[in-house]
């Protein structure tokens, strides 16, 4: 059966307050559609003939369909079809994260071979919650894009196409990723809420969700990261500038931050890029490795849990919170490895033209 690739493109990522408190990007809907057209062209070039897309009312699909129509108008005269056929998951659109959850689950059930995701860390988290063993190919169109790597989307599309058509061995094409599972037991009624983060869990003293983003460093208390990368923005950067931990290593890092964010005896002050264009001083008390499979119970008694940079849950002294890092939690397309393999094995090279013996 020919492979089908699923696409989740979030029209509402990159819209929060970090455009005002920092200088975060505002990637326009038309640009997101343009990115998708580049991915589609690359997938088709690898032999992917069908893609299944999440429906949304934010305008991305309408722009993409217009692009497909125009291309077919041009291509018809040359007898070419440069894009796969675009199908949409049949489901109601709510304009919330529930759409991403549902679309991902539906695509997994439909048997897609990979999921191309356009969004930031939050969108990727929503997909990872439902994708099971289906690998993710991430494209950063969000605010803090620590999880999806920055790369020309055409190349992400090519790598995905080569991977799902079986031209690159699975052990090269796909890599394992970590996540942190969060469990919050309500002390009043015993109800348990489970959540997860792909990059970071930050515990902050603000006990309301509000505008969601994190930027008031004086409220930061504890930080747990799956990878500590000094090359990214946000919470992972704080950890990465203390002790880098790779995406492919087992375990992560836990960082305790100074209560008032200022410098005291025995406190390390770190100047970190916590949001795009926003350097902030944070006081660091100590840090340690976070082994996989070990439940961590935070010291912070009350506040909010921010998952991948956004406040999602609030908790009080009554509630019980624990965090556990999991290795090998879900898969992604290893774009760098696929493209290296493609080059070394001439995967995109045609049959050589015969050379005449006589010069």
């Amino acid at each position: 059966m020919a492979p089908v690739v699923g696409i989740v493109a979030n029209p509402v990522s990159a819209r929060d307050i970090r455009r005002v408190v920092a200088n975060a990007t505002s990637l326009q809907i038309a640009d997101r559609a343009n990115i998708l057209l580049r991915v589609l062209a690359a997938l088709r070039a690898c032999g992917v003939r069908d893609v299944l897309m999440m429906p949304e009312n934010g305008g991305i699909r309408a722009h993409v369909e217009r692009g497909l129509l125009r291309a077919r108008g041009n291509g018809a005269s040359r007898g070419e079809d440069i894009y796969p056929a675009l199908h949409t998951v049949s489901m109601p659109v709510t304009g919330t994260v529930a759409d991403t959850h549902r679309a991902t689950a539906e695509m997994r059930r439909a048997g897609v071979s990979a999921l191309v995701v356009l969004g930031g860390d939050g969108t990727h988290r929503a997909v990872a919650a439902e994708c099971g063993t289906v690998p993710i190919a991430g494209i950063s169109t969000g605010t803090n894009n620590a999880f999806p790597e920055h790369r020309e989307p055409t190349i992400t599309g090519l790598a995905t196409g080569l991977a799902v058509t079986g031209r690159v061995p699975a052990h090269i094409a796909f890599s394992a990723n970590k996540r942190i599972d969060v469990s919050l037991v309500n002390g009043a009624n015993g109800a348990t809420v489970t959540e997860m983060a792909l990059v970071d869990v930050a515990l902050v003293t603000e006990r309301y969700i509000g505008a969601r983003a994190l930027w008031r460093t004086e409220n930061f208390r504890e930080l747990y990261v799956t990878f500590a990368d000094p090359e990214v923005i946000g919470m992972s950067a704080i950890a990465g500038l203390l002790e880098p931990v790779g995406r492919d290593e087992s375990g992560g890092l836990m960082v305790r931050l100074s209560p008032d964010g200022t410098c005291h005896k025995g406190i390390t002050t770190l100047n970190a890029p916590i949001a795009p264009g926003m350097m902030a001083r944070v006081g660091v008390t100590d840090w340690r490795r976070m082994p996989a499979g070990v439940a961590f119970v935070p010291e912070v008694a009350a506040g909010s849990v921010a998952l991948d940079g956004e406040r999602e849950l609030s908790f009080t002294e009554r509630d019980r919170l624990s965090l556990t890092l999991r290795d090998d939690a879900f898969r992604t397309v290893n774009v760098a490895a696929v493209m290296r393999h493609a080059g070394q094995n001439r995967l995109l090279t045609g049959t050589p033209v015969p050379v005449a013996a006589a010069f």
Binding site: D16, I17, R19, V21, Q28, I29, A30, Y208, A211, A302
Partner: protein, 327 residues
């Protein structure tokens, strides 16, 4: 009582709840009385959208100006306009905020910085640019807020104002109250570039989208945007995604809505319920305290309605009075 985890003190939280409840009660009363034929003209109700006006106006003082829309009662109440004067105005009585000659769509009170509801779609944006320019020239740190619906955001006046505010770096916040429908036309059928943040970006200013049914989300985002404008950081756009509980106008049969849509949003996206449940659950405010406010607000609206009905209508000699105003 538990420690307050919110960004506002208890008194401020009670004030926010009282404002939102006053708007709701005011609009619910108009919904009933308009159907009886007691009220002249047209009314467009703000019920369901209270968190937006309240979350923004909590950051303003009387020196800050706002320019409102045809759906302006909520903006008036949140900006501090007297409820008795508003009700009398809507009833067309001479004790009204504009002496009964403006009605629902022209309530204004300059002493509160309320430059007026506005029957012309998209007309508030250029007005607020003028007010913001005045504040900038005076250097008094005043800001201007203009409200526009998703439909009126397509008016040339609104787009020209985005440009003007960006070029002159005015202390303006453009609030798009996106309730999903331009009268009866769904937003996705009518707004070309699909995202208001994209529009703001096109004019070189930041845009932010928040859940307009979450008081705290509006309050926090508006606080940062208004502070930035006050500090000389320039204009910005704030899109509040929200829901309206009644029709575009009173009498609208709302045949454009899906079956069960209204019931669903009333059940799950009522900003007053969301706010009250949060503060009660956190143990900061007791349900009895909110119920006491409900009773006081009910009595206030009852009294305002009674007083409005008993007040005299304008007389013919009033026709040419107050036509020109000297500032």
């Amino acid at each position: 009582m538990a420690q307050n985890p919110f960004p506002l003190g208890k008194d401020e939280l009670l004030k926010a709840y009282r404002t939102m409840r006053t708007i709701r009660e005011f609009e619910e009363r108009l919904h009933v009385d308009f159907a009886k034929g007691d009220i002249p003209g047209f009314v467009h109700l703000y019920a369901g959208e209270e968190a937006c006006a309240t979350g923004i106006m909590m950051h303003l003082n009387d020196n800050d100006r706002i320019a409102s829309t045809h759906r302006g009662h909520g903006h008036c109440i949140a900006k501090g306009v007297d409820v008795h004067a508003m009700m009398a105005e809507i009833y067309g009585r001479s004790t009204g905020a504009c002496r009964g000659k403006g009605g629902s769509m022209h309530i204004a009170d300059l002493s509160k910085g309320m430059m007026g509801a506005n029957g012309i779609l998209g007309a508030g944006a250029p007005l607020i640019c003028g007010a913001a320019l005045a504040a900038k020239v005076r250097g008094d740190r005043g800001v201007g807020i203009t409200f526009v619906g998703d439909g009126a955001s397509n008016q040339g006046t609104f787009l020209e104002s985005l440009n003007l505010a960006a070029v002159w770096n005015l202390p303006v916040v453009f609030v798009v109250e996106n309730n999903g429908y331009a009268e009866s036309t769904a937003m996705e059928w009518a707004v070309s570039c699909d995202s208001y943040v994209d529009r703001a970006t096109g004019f070189g200013m930041p845009g932010v989208t928040v859940d307009g049914t979450d008081f705290f989300a509006v309050y926090e985002a508006a606080g940062e945007i208004i502070r930035r404008a006050r500090d000389g950081g320039g204009p910005a756009l704030l899109e509040c995604n929200m829901v309206r509980f009644y029709g575009h106008f009173e009498g609208d049969a709302q045949t454009y809505r899906a079956k069960g849509e209204l019931e669903a949003i009333r059940a799950s996206r009522d900003c007053l319920t969301i706010l009250s449940e949060r503060v009660i659950e956190a143990g900061v405010i007791g349900r009895d305290e909110l119920q006491a406010i409900d009773r006081e607000v009910n009595a206030l609206i009852e009294d305002a309605t009674r007083a409005a009905k008993a007040a005299p209508l304008p007389v013919p000699e009033d026709l040419l009075r107050d036509v020109y105003v000297a500032y």
